[in-house]
Each structure stands twice: as structure tokens, then as C-alpha cells.
Subunit: 363 residues, 2 copies
DNA sequence: GTGATAAATGTAAGCGCTTACATTCAATCT
DNA sequence: AGATTGAATGTAAGCGCTTACATTTATCAC
């Protein structure tokens, strides 16, 4: 194995690190293939610029040596990392998992890697995470929902870092968004609830402050109420963070109201599952005595008994489209201007007709 | 071709990128603070080496300029990224979410960032992901379970990349592991099932090939069976990937067996939930007609009715300890040699006494 | 063939940081 | 005072890659 180093001014001994192990470098490959580092680099990054002959030779050396480019060096020289950062509110339940998985899979097809951080629904933490992700070289970001401080947007704008907003969609054309219209979706569900004859409804929502999606959903219920000629003021709304326990607790409160609501619309499936369980624990039949609806259509919605009537959100499609939008933005393409993704109501068993028993309002 | 320009006095104009935006560099900070780049670097990385006076001045400039170190450059120069890679089988259900969240939180305390990839339970994909993560500069890895090809281990060893194995724990001291003993845990549960008088039991497991955790759990049931003087051969075992649907389907098969098992032990909660639903759909009472148990104790175990009797795995603690182990390894500390984490049986409502109806074995 | 043009390849200048080593400086000792 | 010492700081050499530009080689019209 003699390598004819024609020009080897490179006297430097490769300094092995700690245990004498060193990864092969571009130079090693170039030497072994008898070409320059530039050519090797081109074989890897823009193969069409290189003769087939050369390319094959180089690639076989790459394989033989087990060469893998050094991430830091590449990032430094190319000024991009091919990394996309995503900040989601939580990793702990399935709400974002499905969409994120699809997002990642689609990114991978474009040679992009996903870096995930979670904000625990806290705007201050979200800012930290954005900073961290940018510091780690994220070329672009996926953000959930529109609502965040102007300074965050300003910073992204100023850096020229592309981002797309997801899980929400509005007419607001200042931001690139791939999502669905939370208001429309929830309003349709509320209308359906009214179709079932319910007149006393209530809402369990995530905290609305700093969460436009939650706010849109609640507002949709109130708007639908008004459209039916009912008084939105009378719709009880409880805010509580997304969790089964909180859903149960909120349901407990709502069920002790006078008049007792006959339908409870929940801001997401997790709350709904809690509410459902609570109603049953209190000896009420769902939907016989009280109907419960969810939002998202995550797996658990199908599993509980009665299965949840909820709003199906095309998470996978959303993730996929978001990834495509980001890949496009990175290539300098125009922002896609597609309309919102369509949600649909999934009617299962937790929504039924309002009980026609006389309400105890008047005693 | 003489390029004897030995001293190229840094005349270079800072070339702004595309939109004229440029992040401040170390040099900018150094200039503004009237010190060398080395000092600025030290202020950031080992503040104790610098006078308080200097440090304060430098840090204030850092803040004023909004300086953030360039990740690639840092990685390249320091030969580490402070990034830990984790490859988990799936992101889509909650099995790994809780532990991973804790893992990440603890890593953050040590200044480390988590990069997650998922393998879809496929060894070949896992290898790809490992390669990807390493290429992206992961300083260390979190791996789930022991079982993977020797070449993967060899490669890690050869590169000198530290890793810790989690979600499993064995006497095998060749690898650093932070986990629990799947065999012990499942055997205890099986024993409990036998205590309830069950004699005809069955198992729904994840595919055992390439998954030591699944294998340990199944083997534990068989061992417990033998210890009770029953014939392990008669324990029906169905293998199917983790999902509610698959759990349901497998349950359907098991329930048509003669004699029909009176207790079905599932490899995890997701399968158990599916099994539970299926039994109920077929008009059987759980645990009246058939008992079902899970494994993991994820949220859904508490939610289904009857609530699942399952094995509680201290995922958070596991994640935390794994992170500490990795941080230690990275600092050159010895591998921790703690015993396995302790699991405990959570008795809820899906496991009950064996039905004392006469079995239809003899007709 | 010749020259012009295009395609393939090579050369080498950085990218922004860390760190070994050199230098300066102040405190302490003789 | 001068010598000694250790802490603080500066100098500058890379880290491994990409890419603008220079050079070589192939292609083609005439």
C-alpha cells in the first residue's frame, strides 16, 4: 500500500486524539483517490460537476475509508448546518408527536436534520430555546402558533432566518404558515353540538393567554353560540393546562354548575379524556347525561369508551407540508401561499342528543 | 508560483452575507473590549482564568453586541459539540417520551444538548441513525437496549465515543447501562398473576428478534410459569409490533384458543390497551372473564377502564441517571456501577382472580 | 490543424473558534 | 534592589471543510 504522494509539502503529522483514533479527513480521501480536496468535496456536494469516472473512484475511496464529513467544519465553511430547529410546547403527549414525526421524515428527504426543543407552553422558555437552536446553527425554525413577542420575530427577521409557523393558519400574511384554522374547525364542531339540541354548553380550554390556538378555539365556541341566538356570556369557560387530571378536575367544577351543562367542548383530546372519565366517575352517562368533545383526534380518542367525538387534524400532512415549505424557503423559493389545511369532525360516541329531561333550572 | 506573502495583514473587509446581515464574531468582541480573542474565548469558556475586571468588561460587550458563538467554528476548534445523540425506537407513543424529557432536562443542566432520532424498531435504521448522529458530531450516545450488531459497538469503541444503554440493565459489564431488569420486573408480575389463580395465561409481545427487552419479558413469563410447576410450552405467545390495533388483533386470536387463556400479559401498555378493548368488544368482562396486564405504566394505563394493572417503570429517574452517567463519562469519570432501577407492580383493575367457571377444555 | 469555448479539476483563502505556547506584569522573596 | 514566580493576557497555528478563482483538459467550428 504505497501511495505515491507526488506533492507532499504537507509535513504535518496527523495528531491522533486521545486514544490514537482519528477520523479520515477530506485530505485523506483526496490523497487516496489522487485528486484534490476540492474534487472530493464536489463529489459529495454537487456530483454533477464531476466526471462519472472521477466520481466513482472518489466515492469508492470514501466508502473504503469510511469517511464522513466533519459536521463542524462543514458548517463553518458552508455557513449552513442543514439543521432545522423546532420548538414545540411539549413532548410529553401525543399532540405534537405525529406531526413532528412526519415533519422529520420529510425533512430527511431534503437532507435536513431536525433538532427539537420544548417550551413547556412557556413563552420565556420558548425564547430561550429559539436562541439555543439558533446558536446551534439551525438554518430555519418551525414554530407552533403565531403568538410570541415582536422582538423574537424581529430577531429572526434581522438574522434572515427563515421560519414557518404551524398548527395554526390565519390570513396574516406576514408570516409563512402551514396549518389549519382553529376557529373554523372548532366552530363547526360547536355547530354540530348545537345540532344535537344542546343549549347549555361549557368549554374546558388550555390557558388562553399566549396561546392563540386555544383562544381561537374558545372564541369559535362563543361565536357559534351567538349565531344560534344563545348568550355567549352564559358559556362557562374553564382554563387549565393540558393534562388528563386537569381535564377531570375542570369537569368536576362544570358539573356542579346550575344549570348543569349538557355538553362540554374541550380544547383538546387530553382534556376531553379527563373530562369523560370524571363524568363517568360521578355516575353520569356519556353522552346520555352529558356530551364531551375533544380536539386533535390523537390515538387515545379512539380508545376511551365512549370513543371521543373530536376534530381530526391532519397532523401528518401538516408536518409534511411544513417541511416542504422550509426546504423551499431555504432554497430561496417564494413562500407557498396555500390555504389552511382542512380539518374534519370525527363523530364517535361521546356526543349525543341533549338529554330531554327537564333541567333543574327552575326549582 | 511563489506565494511568499508571509504576513497577510488582516485587511479583509468583513463580507456581509446575503442581506447585509452579519453576526458579530469573537474578533468583534475582542476589538470592542480591547482584548485579544483568546481572552474573550476564555471569558466564555473558563471564566476563572480571567480577572474579574476584564471579564466584566468583556461580558458587557458580549451582551451589547448580542454576540453568540458560532457553533460550527466552536465544534471544529474544540473537537466537541456538547451534543448528545439518542436513538429511540419510536417517537409516536409515550413509552419513551417521559424518560427522554427527563434525560434532556438533566443534560441541559450539564450544558449538553439532545439530538433525537428514531429507528422505528429497525436495527438497520438504527445503524443509519447512529452514523448520522455521529456525523453531526454527537459527543456521546444514548441507546435503547443492548441488542445491536457487534460492528456497531466496535465502531463506537474504535472512535472512542462514549455511550450509555438504557431501558435495560444486565450483569453485562462491558457496556455502561442505566436501566431496569426487564426479566425481574415481568417475572414479578407473572407471579402476581399466578397468585390470582390463573393457570392458562398468554402473552402478547413485541417481536422478540433484535429486541432484548421484549425477549426478557417473555422469558420471564415462561420462567415464572415453570416455577409454578406449569408447562411453559402451553403459554401462547403472539408477537406483534407495539400498537393498539395490533394488541386488539392479537387478543382476538388468543381469545379463540382452546382452552381460552384467563389472563393475558402484554409486553407493554399500548398492546394491553388494545387487548383490553378487544376483549370488551367481544363481550367479555375484564377482569371477570379475562385479566389483562401491561408494562411501562404510561398515562393511558390509568385512563382506560378498567385501569391497567401494569409494571411501573421509573422513566424519569432513568432518564436523569442516564444523563448524569453521560455527563460523567464525557468528563472522563469512571462509569457508574449502580444496580438496576427498581420497578414496581401497580395494581389497578384489569387483573383479577381467575374465573372459577369450568373451563371448556374437556368437551 | 487552430483558436475559441466549455467542462473538469486544482489552488488556496478563508470560515470563527480554541488552545499551546510565549509574553507581560505584579506580587513575593532574598 | 534584583531575582523568582505564577497569574493574566496575547500570539498565532490550526481544526476540516467549501468555494471563488485559476488552470488544465476536452470539445468543437472552421
Amino acid at each position: 500500500m504505497e501511495q505515491s504522494r507526488k506533492t507532499a509539502p504537507r509535513t504535518r503529522e496527523r495528531t491522533p486524539k486521545r486514544n490514537g483514533i482519528t477520523q479520515p479527513t477530506l485530505q485523506d480521501v483526496a490523497d487516496a483517490a489522487g485528486v484534490s480536496t476540492a474534487t472530493v468535496s464536489r463529489c459529495l456536494n454537487s456530483p454533477e460537476q464531476v466526471t462519472v469516472r472521477t466520481r466513482d473512484r472518489v466515492l469508492s475511496v470514501v466508502k473504503k475509508l469510511g469517511y464522513a464529513p466533519n459536521f463542524g467544519a462543514r458548517a463553518l465553511a458552508a455557513k449552513r448546518t442543514n439543521t432545522i430547529g423546532a420548538i414545540i410546547p411539549t413532548m410529553e403527549n401525543a399532540i405534537f408527536a405525529r406531526g413532528l414525526q412526519a415533519f422529520q421524515e420529510e425533512l430527511a428527504k431534503h437532507g435536513l436534520t431536525l433538532l427539537v426543543a420544548s417550551s413547556s407552553y412557556r413563552p420565556d422558555l420558548e425564547e430561550d430555546q429559539i436562541r439555543t437552536l439558533l446558536a446551534r446553527g439551525a438554518d430555519a425554525l418551525l414554530l407552533i402558533g403565531f403568538e410570541r413577542s415582536a422582538s423574537v420575530y424581529a430577531q429572526l427577521e434581522q438574522r434572515g432566518t427563515p421560519y414557518v409557523i404551524s398548527w395554526s393558519q390565519k390570513e396574516d400574511r406576514r408570516h409563512v404558515a402551514v396549518g389549519f384554522n382553529n376557529h373554523t374547525a372548532m366552530k363547526a364542531l360547536a355547530a354540530r353540538v348545537f345540532d344535537f339540541g344542546h343549549e347549555h354548553i361549557a368549554v374546558i380550554s388550555a390557558p388562553q393567554a399566549e396561546n392563540d390556538r386555544a383562544r381561537d378555539r374558545v372564541q369559535a365556541v362563543l361565536d357559534a353560540t351567538a349565531e344560534r341566538g344563545l348568550d355567549p356570556q352564559k358559556v362557562a369557560v374553564i382554563e387549565t393546562p393540558y393534562s388528563v387530571e386537569n381535564g377531570a378536575e375542570a369537569m368536576g367544577e362544570l358539573l356542579s354548575l346550575q344549570p348543569r351543562p349538557t355538553a362540554v367542548l374541550c380544547g383538546n383530546d387530553v382534556l376531553a379524556v379527563g373530562a369523560l372519565g370524571q363524568a363517568q366517575s360521578l355516575g353520569l352517562s356519556v353522552p346520555g347525561d352529558v356530551s364531551v368533545t375533544g380536539f386533535d383526534d390523537i390515538e387515545i380518542a379512539r380508545i376511551v369508551r365512549p370513543a371521543l367525538t373530536t376534530v381530526h387534524v391532519p397532523h401528518r400532512e401538516m408536518g409534511r407540508q411544513a417541511a416542504r415549505a422550509i426546504a423551499g424557503l431555504l432554497k430561496g423559493e417564494e413562500a407557498p401561499v396555500e390555504g389552511p389545511l382542512l380539518t374534519r369532525i370525527v363523530e364517535r360516541d361521546s356526543l349525543g342528543p341533549a338529554p330531554n329531561t327537564v333541567l333543574d333550572r327552575d326549582n
